[in-house]
Symmetry: C2
Subunit: 238 residues, 2 copies
Amino acid sequence: MPKDHIVHAFDMELSNLEKLIVEMGGRVEMQLDKAINGLLNYDVETAKEVIADDKIIDRLELEVATKATEIFATRQPMADDLRSIVAALKISSNLERMGDYAKNISKRTITLSQIPLVSITGKSVRRMGDLVSHMMRDVLDAYVARDADKALDVIVQDHEVDQLHTSLFREILTYMMEDARNITACTHLLFIAKNVERIGDHTTNIGEQVYYIKTGNIPEEERDTADKATSVIVEKSD
Amino acid sequence: MPKDHIVHAFDMELSNLEKLIVEMGGRVEMQLDKAINGLLNYDVETAKEVIADDKIIDRLELEVATKATEIFATRQPMADDLRSIVAALKISSNLERMGDYAKNISKRTITLSQIPLVSITGKSVRRMGDLVSHMMRDVLDAYVARDADKALDVIVQDHEVDQLHTSLFREILTYMMEDARNITACTHLLFIAKNVERIGDHTTNIGEQVYYIKTGNIPEEERDTADKATSVIVEKSD
């Protein structure tokens, strides 16, 4: 009976840690969504909310680290349990960074609200944001279900985000060349697009951790190939 | 005697984990140095080496995670020991990201080697790189010595990196406005400068972890304030 009790309490602790990750993930997803809406509507109030609410995500990361450390200290987690706790630490670090990227989008939104901007890129940013939100929902589902296949599928989805990012990068460079008055605004847009792309990368990292929890291995597939923005050259046509 | 033996073996494991972190840190420092040298000399061979060697850093991160997980599973680390192991996991994640940023600098170096580039920004990039290398050496020293004050000092040093980044950002925007033919090259330079700035941020994160190992707390000081690049507006003067 006392042993059962201990096992039960341990399960509760693991389940609480998982709930914390899911809460954190849900909040980060909301932050991304608000950051993109704020950007597309030049909505400074929403942008300010995103910036302020990033603190909540930072606190949740600390809470995950504290809870995980307590479990290490008081239980002797083995095998699957041990892997889930180590993965929870890694996942929360990724989510914290994703929150930072959403905050960065909102900081730049405030800057963009003060300068005229070409509007045509809005649709591509929205599309990237929607794809990444979709990946985030899938990876959280995969995490809760411990579904390694679904986790791998998230990694594959990131290729499309990378491709969109590369073409958006090229598109924005073209606007800058067309009219030098676009340069400041477009530069911030370039970094915003990069932020969304990075959120996709971190979602992929979480997918890898879910795969690791389930299988004990990190997926072998070569990463980081579909984003060709680092090699884009656009020549000015005069 | 057998108990002594166990304690001794545990100390050895912790010490090996620490050595692995120091090795990883040294390699990342070397990667940053090579990436910056490669950039300033348009040295494509060096850039390719940096890109290829990033795999070594990725492997080291996995090795840290495996070793840490083994220690959790076979020992019951408490208090300071527990904190060092959790911190080792976080530090290795940061180092792995820093390696990715160095790789990204080198990818963009290969692109830049194909297009004409204004040379005047080289000095500022070098200066940022030197500052960040200095921070990295300090934070690894602080880690080995478990020196919380030195760790805090690294966090303070990052302000200067942020300020340099903001002024470099502004400088590069000006070049883009002066001549649209500079736009592609300057955009890649903007991202390179941002990469160096981000390596500084991650070095700061490591400083926070060193502080945490020593004190059990994360330093309270407000972060992320000196980099004002997100709010830079440069108007084209015609």
